[in-house]
């Protein structure tokens, strides 16, 4: 009964940023999706996912992130990721996810890149 993922939502320079803490497995992915859909339902089109607090993900969790990307592409919005471990970034590249979502090293460049 490993702790479930903690998800927090904050505004940074007008942009909604979702912070995660813990393992992104299927429950973890669902937690993120819940918060993300709330933001999108509120009319926003851009979202930054700061994964600094996540050191491990699995492919079930990632496939839920693909659902979020699909939703965002439909409304011609944009999903960004920042603060990924090297392995998570590499995994996103292996999957080709990096073509459909922006990957930033740190939050500052993520906020700048997505709002600029």
């Amino acid at each position: 009964m490993t702790e479930t993922l903690k998800v927090t939502l904050k505004k940074r320079g007008g942009l909604s940023v979702i912070y995660t803490e813990g393992y992104i497995n299927n429950q973890g992915g669902e937690e993120i999706a819940k918060v993300a859909y709330r933001v999108l339902d509120g009319g926003e089109k851009k979202l930054l996912l700061n994964l600094e607090g996540t050191k491990i993900v699995n492919s079930i969790g990632i496939s839920i992130l693909i659902e979020i990307i699909e939703r965002i592409l439909e409304i011609e919005g944009k999903l960004g990721f920042c603060c990924l471990t090297k392995t998570i970034a590499k995994t996103f590249h292996i999957m080709g996810l990096a073509q459909y979502a922006d990957i930033y090293d740190d939050e500052a460049s993520g906020v700048a890149g997505m709002t600029g």
Binding site: N58, S63, I94, M95
Partner: protein, 150 residues
């Protein structure tokens, strides 16, 4: 402890219970650190092990509800490698029938899943899968890059 190289094999048996893959990932981490793999390589190994475990948990339908892992450090000091096997006694699958996932298609598809094997192959240096009606064994190898702990 005569044959030191051969001796460095650890076996782990896990119940198919949610989150037990984390135990496998910690064991993998310990073995990777033991042989001096760097932090990034270690991280890649543990992610691959997690994927292999959840595949067995989810798809094998093994009656004994267990996954059997081995972690072996082999090779000489210059060319050491970590070889990991993840085995289940489940119903198996035909690797040739597994479709290669494509992100363009998955973005529109109902089922977004199907990434585990691709991720494992992308993160490990060698991957071999043997599967039949008696079960599945996936063997994954990571070589230590020159320059310890890099």
């Amino acid at each position: 402890m005569a044959n030191h190289a051969l001796l460095r094999e650890v076996t782990l048996t896990l119940p198919m219970v949610a989150d037990m893959e984390i135990t496998a990932s910690k064991t993998a981490t310990a073995m990777a650190e033991h042989m001096g793999l760097g932090a990034d390589q270690t991280d890649e190994v543990r992610m691959a092990v997690v994927e292999a475990c959840i595949n067995s948990f989810e798809h094998s339908h093994a009656e004994d509800s267990r996954v059997y892992l081995t972690f072996a450090i082999t090779g000489d000091e210059q060319h050491e490698k970590l070889e990991i096997t993840v085995r289940d006694n489940g119903r198996g699958f035909k690797t040739s029938e597994v479709e290669e996932p494509k992100i363009e298609e998955k973005l529109k598809a109902e089922r977004k899943r199907g990434w585990g094997l691709k991720i494992i192959r992308g993160l490990m240096d060698e991957v071999d899968i043997e599967s039949d009606a008696e079960g599945t064994t996936i063997t994954m190898v990571k070589y230590r890059r020159a320059g310890r702990g890099k």
